[in-house]
Symmetry: C2
Subunit: 122 residues, 2 copies
Amino acid sequence: MNTQSEPPTTAHTTIPGCCAPVFDVGLTDGEAAQLAEKLSLLAHPIRLRLLAILARNGGHVCVCDLEAALPVKQPTVSHHLRLLRDGGLIEGERRGQWIYYAVRREELAAVQAALAQFFARI
Amino acid sequence: MNTQSEPPTTAHTTIPGCCAPVFDVGLTDGEAAQLAEKLSLLAHPIRLRLLAILARNGGHVCVCDLEAALPVKQPTVSHHLRLLRDGGLIEGERRGQWIYYAVRREELAAVQAALAQFFARI
DNA sequence: TCAATATATTGACAATCTTCGATATATCGC
DNA sequence: GCGATATATCGAAGATTGTCAATATATTGA
């Protein structure tokens, strides 16, 4: 907080000598938290690659395939799959011994839309 | 890896009894890492709000204003500003006692483009 | 039922991230 | 130079995340 003279160039509309910013904040606390959560889910190379693989081969990829395609061990693949599933971005269906995962297009589109809105608003 | 019979429905083109997936991986290791890094930078509510504020009031917001607008202390604001600056998304200019930050539009656009490409390719 | 296989979960550990008090540095007005 | 203010950096503490070995659970085929 500046308590001296007015800063040289500023958007402030202040009581002289006090920094009381009245600018457009643009994003509420809650909106920022929600978007950050969605972004956090995407912000990992393994999860991005899982999504990419599943998006292109949805419903036909079992965990063993994913494990074979990625540089991490099976429990780690399961861990990331669970995060994506808990986040609503993918779903799994057991077919016999295997569980086949696929992306949930609507949810992915929702994330994309939220991001687009953010970039549109800034 | 399944070493039994063929999974019921699959994109595999396998040696029977062995899981040798030949599906489109869609995203290289490096691409995923790069995108994840960009997303990690965005994936924090304070940083999203910093970007939003700066985007709408660029060049006219000093750190004291940001501190006043956000629920964290000054060293924390400085910390996130540094991450954003190191990531190329914002830049700061000292004017007298104050340092005014603004978003770097080209870099923001690049992130947006990388994201768009990701969503387009999956 | 049993052995084999696929996937999930648990628990531990390391690494990274977040926050903030304390302090350093820079700038201003006097 | 000095006191006041703005911002950055340091260092510590706690929280979160990522990874994996070990183990549990579920399914299959025999």
